[in-house]
């Protein structure tokens, strides 16, 4: 850190012009160039990033590269310089999450880097920028231009004699061909990459491969094994896999190798071995993953959907639905929660404080963007929030400052989850199979049943759209009824015995109000409590089940209600005062933050001591910016990403605002959104509406809820169920779009 740049580095000129800049130089030495997205051994990070670094601090390369992004804006003020081009490649190439967050921005920025290098005779720089451009275009699925970019990159890198770059071109083309289903071309390109790679000697100590080379080696082996497997040349695939196993170092990520092994075993009709390899692959990625943060996991999940999907399908075809449940639960681990008694080194504490400052700054900027309705900026801030969360979680992980994660294997989960579902309980998972079937996994009585829905996935999606429209517009119930009947029909015999039902639904069904689905002529909630779980993972965690809000010690409640924020012209919510009164009736010592008192600072402070938090006001959710989901407090919005960073959150949260329960969910993931942020940060139960609600309905629901909670021994979900039934029985709220909007998430 703060080393001198290499002689003749493109950073020379910039550093000379800015000797006192707000940045630090991270110099990785010559081995840096084994990473194809680095064109110089060094890059810049904000000075604040390294300010608190001490001898015992841990800094990963990925964290440093994530920070490189923050320097782009000040650098761009100097116009188009080669240093800016190099920094763009670090910022995008080193951060696949950021690149994936906005593929168009990825293309635009890499084009800027190319413009910066053009005409300077920097063959390696320009060639590697073309490789990154090809990658960006491939992610957008602009195949023609991607192939063209890779070929141009290849030409320049050949002239530059850059073997690492050439290896990467071949690997990337192999990957692109495999994505297009052209496995023969993929074999050809991967073989070519292997031939180039054979000419490379390790750039690390004693001729060992560096981390960058390890990545390249794994990448090429992976593409070769996968393509040969798909083509059907299994003998050669086996040979390549052997040499991959032989060559693999401790630095390598085992996930790809094990997943490729699984694919090959399936091709060889050795299904049981394939499933075993899949499970070990999943364990390798999710049990031992040091970066266990929510955004990080979302990225990994998106890139692992095929593996998970195949593993689940294989488990089901082998008659092992329990293992399918284990796989689904393994996909979702909680984001790290800061340990109450964990002591952190001063440097980590300092770094966390710096991250928290950035969170506050981002909240300030995002407030400006929401008021200006600047969607482009909000989109960028959503991405920045993800990175901030990831950096912060990584700090907690690496410094040992978080509660140790459950490291159960898939098989252990497969055993433990059915056991965790108690007598009279039923857990249901709804998901879509690869061939358009909607599968149901029903967990009860210590076992798992694999069932299917009658309608196909496309019909279910159509009905789900119809049901959603009916609920939002409060007109008609045909979609809710037809879809409800369809989803409950396969489990009717199990529902008949259940008094409590947990539902995890993926895809089109994720917003469907299962509690409103008709069962024996009445909504399901009439015969059982219904709780939504963002994934099967919470079933892993025992404790909390069956506890009421009155569990032996006095509960501290805080209510924050804002009828009209100061910075947005929105309709008044006059019912909030009565809502506050309802809360106070149950919790007489409730701290009331009403209108002007309900500032973001006051609410964030309440997180530190409240057991129950009732937040009422206008709320906003956009699926493309789930981290920007917000509830509008008096002085500014409170954003989901701020909630995610809280060191403590209340046990029970009632979010009384439009769509506050909505979330953007990936396969098996906990999702992103306001309610999801509370759950991920440790809240046990969130009550929130899935779609916009009338404030008179919200008031009626909350009055009934709190009246019920005032009774000793009543659990939150029981209270919510009673409130739903009360509304349902009231003529003006009888439409499921009103009473059915309120959902219980989590497991208290």
């Amino acid at each position: 850190v703060n080393a001198m740049p290499e002689q003749n580095s493109v950073y020379d000129e910039y550093l000379t012009a800015h000797p006192e800049g707000d940045f630090a130089v991270i110099n990785l030495g010559p081995a840096a160039l084994t990473y194809v997205h680095l064109v110089e051994p060094e890059f810049l990070v904000p000075a604040a990033y390294v300010k608190g670094v001490q001898v015992d601090s841990t800094m990963t390369l990925h964290m440093a590269m994530a920070s490189a992004w923050e320097v782009l804006e000040p650098m761009s003020q100097d116009g188009l310089t080669a240093a800016l081009g190099a920094q763009i490649l670090v910022s995008m190439g080193g951060n696949p999450q950021r690149a994936a967050a906005s593929p168009r921005r990825h293309v635009r920025l890499v084009l800027t880097a190319l413009d910066a290098f053009r005409g300077l005779g920097l063959l390696r720089h320009e060639g590697r920028a073309y490789v990154e451009l090809g990658r960006a275009l491939a992610n957008l699925r602009w195949v023609g231009d991607a192939v063209n970019a890779f070929e141009r990159g290849r030409l320049l890198l050949t002239q530059a004699g850059d073997l690492h770059g050439l290896c990467a071109v071949s690997g990337r083309l192999a990957l692109l061909m495999a994505r297009l289903g052209l496995y023969e071309q993929a074999v050809l390109y991967a073989d070519e990459g292997q031939r180039i790679r054979d000419r490379l000697t390790g750039s690390g100590a004693h001729g060992q491969p560096t981390q960058g080379e390890t990545y390249l080696i794994d990448f090429l082996h992976h593409e070769r094994v996968r393509a040969l497997t798909r083509v059907g040349f299994v003998d050669e695939a086996e040979t390549v896999l052997d040499s991959w196993n032989h060559e693999s170092s401790d630095l390598a990520d085992r996930f790809d190798r094990l997943a490729a092994t699984a694919d090959l075993r399936i091709r060889q009709n050795r299904g049981a071995e394939g499933l075993d390899a899949f499970m070990r692959a999943i364990e390798a990625r999710f049990m031992d993953l040091d970066v266990g943060s929510l955004p990080g996991r979302t990225y990994y999940l998106e890139n692992s959907v095929r593996v998970f999907g195949t593993a689940i399908g294989l488990a089901l075809s082998l008659g092992r639905p329990d293992l399918a449940v284990g796989v689904l639960a393994a996909m979702s681990t909680r984001r790290p929660t800061r340990s109450a008694n964990g002591s952190l080194s001063p440097s980590v504490t300092e770094a966390l404080r710096a991250a928290d400052t950035e969170v506050s700054e981002l909240a300030r900027l995002a407030t400006g963007a929401t008021v200006a309705r600047d969607h482009a900026r909000l989109f960028a801030y959503n991405d920045r929030a993800r990175i901030l969360l990831e950096t912060r979680d990584t700090l907690l992980h690496e410094a040992g400052g978080c509660v140790p994660r459950d490291r159960s294997t898939v098989e252990e989960l497969a055993t433990n989850i059915p056991r965790a579902v108690g007598p009279g309980e039923l857990a249901l998972f709804y998901g879509e199979s690869g061939d358009g079937e909607v599968i149901v996994l029903a967990i009860c009585d210590g076992g798992v049943r694999h069932l299917s829905l009658g309608p196909r996935a496309d019909e279910v999606a159509r009905l789900a759209d119809q049901a959603h429209d009916e609920c939002v517009t409060r007109s008609g119930v045909n979609g809710v009824r037809r879809l409800g009947e369809a989803v409950l029909a396969p489990v009717a015999d199990l529902l008949a015995k259940a008094s409590r039902v947990y539902v995890t639904a993926q895809g089109a069904l994720q917003d469907f109000p299962f509690h409103a689905a008709p069962f024996r002529g009445r909504p399901l909630v009439a015969s059982a409590e219904v709780r939504a779980l963002p994934s099967l993972a919470p079933l892993r965690f025992s404790g909390g089940l069956g506890e009421s809000v009155h569990d032996g010690h006095p509960m501290t409640a805080v209510l924050a209600a804002v009828r009209q924020p100061r910075y947005e012209l929105l309709p008044d919510l006059p019912a909030l005062k009565a809502e506050a009164a309802a809360v106070r009736e149950v919790f007489p010592t409730t701290t009331l933050l009403y209108d002007d008192e309900a500032t973001a600072a006051a609410v964030l402070h309440a997180f530190s001591f409240a057991d129950v938090l009732h937040l009422a006001g206008h709320a906003v959710f956009e699926p493309s910016q789930p981290n920007m989901a917000r509830i509008l407090l008096t002085d500014r919005p409170l954003f989901a990403f701020e909630v995610s960073c809280a060191t403590r959150v209340p046990r029970v949260v009632n979010l009384s605002g439009c769509r506050a329960g909505a979330e953007q969910r990936s396969l098996g993931g906990e999702g992103e959104g306001l309610a999801a942020a509370f759950l991920a940060a440790g809240t046990e139960t969130v009550v929130a509406p899935l779609w916009p609600v009338r404030d008179d309905a919200a008031l009626a629901f909350n009055e009934a809820l709190y009246r019920e909670l005032a009774r000793p021994g009543v659990e939150v979900s029981q209270g919510a169920r009673h409130a739903q039934l009360t509304l349902m029985a009231t003529p003006q709220f009888a439409h499921p779009g009103l009473w059915g909007a309120f959902s219980v998430l989590g497991r208290l």
Binding site: V107, L111, N148, A149, F233
Partner: protein, 306 residues
């Protein structure tokens, strides 16, 4: 103002439009040969006349001239498709998806023609394959997919990988001429055998989905490379008696085996194909018989695969 069919109107979110224009210009600088020329405002184009002109040139001046003529046209089409993808062109039609698909189809047609003339003119197979892949034509229907696979298979064959060509062909649709597909498959299978990769042929035969082989004839023939050895002259001579004996006994299964083996191992000959056709018909394999008959006619017209 009335919209111009195939034309464009800049509309939508200002940031999005600005970014699209920046990307379009950036990609033109980075990837196109004549980046300074702005993209055309209208996407109306007559690809048939371009192809006709190319064919005339090929007939009069050779394939290289045709290819030379096609490549700049191709470049223009690529730029149009890019503009359509970015929402900067072709969005005045009511059905903009149809416009985009049409443009892609045109681009694919030109790419395939340019590649074909490229192979005839002796262009490096790597370059031709790269051009074909850049056309991104695999999702434009079976006819285009089949044509793409045929050209890629030819490139793979020239590159010394008939095994990969065989794999590609058995996974691809037959296209307009199933008989031609059979002949190409047999050719690359024989070449794979010839370079010592009989195990790869065997591995491909274990695959259940030979998409380009609905009658099963390709698989029946290719299997001979794995289950039999190349017949010697003595064995071939002995087949005359074996054939006569099978005929006398009405042993149509043996006759079928012998005919399949002849077609697979011996030089391509219309008579062998025709004999196979007759025997398949006797065996009740009508579709296979028709295919063999069509193959016989093509060999008679065009000669053996070179």
């Amino acid at each position: 103002m009335a919209a111009v069919p195939g034309g464009f109107t800049v509309r939508g979110d200002a940031f999005y439009v600005r970014e699209s224009l920046t990307i379009e210009a950036g990609l033109a600088r980075a990837l196109d040969e004549e980046p300074d020329e702005p993209f055309h405002e209208s996407t109306q184009a007559d690809v048939t006349s371009v192809c006709d002109q190319a064919d005339d040139l090929a007939a009069n001046d050779g394939p290289e001239a045709a290819r030379k003529f096609l490549l700049p046209q191709l470049q223009q089409y690529k730029r149009w498709v890019r503009s359509v993808d970015l929402g900067l062109a072709g969005n005045d039609e009511e059905d903009s998806v149809r416009v985009a698909t049409g443009m892609r189809g045109n681009l694919a047609a030109l790419s395939l023609r340019a590649a074909l003339y490229g192979l005839r003119a002796g262009a490096p197979p790597e370059q031709v394959a790269s051009e074909i892949l850049a056309a991104d034509a695999l999702e434009l229907g079976e006819a285009v997919e089949s044509a793409t696979a045929q050209i890629l298979a030819q490139c793979l064959r020239i590159q010394g990988r008939p095994d990969l060509a065989l794999s590609l062909l058995v996974r691809s649709p037959t296209g307009e001429s199933p008989a031609q597909h059979v002949r190409t498959v047999l050719d690359v299978a024989r070449r794979t055998y010839a370079i010592g990769h009989v195990r790869r042929v065997e591995e491909l035969l274990t695959l259940t989905d030979w998409r380009g082989d609905p009658t099963g004839l390709e698989k029946d023939l290719t299997t001979r490379l794995v289950t039999e050895h190349e017949p010697s002259q003595v064995e071939l001579a002995a087949r005359v008696d074996a054939r006569r004996q099978a005929f006398d006994n009405g042993d149509w299964a043996t006759l079928r085996d012998l005919a399949l083996s002849d077609v697979m191992w011996l030089a391509e000959d219309p008579h062998l194909w025709m004999a196979l056709s007759v025997i398949l018909k006797i065996n009740g394999a009508v579709d296979q018989a028709q295919l063999a008959h069509d193959a016989a006619e093509i060999v008679a017209q065009q000669g053996a695969v070179s």
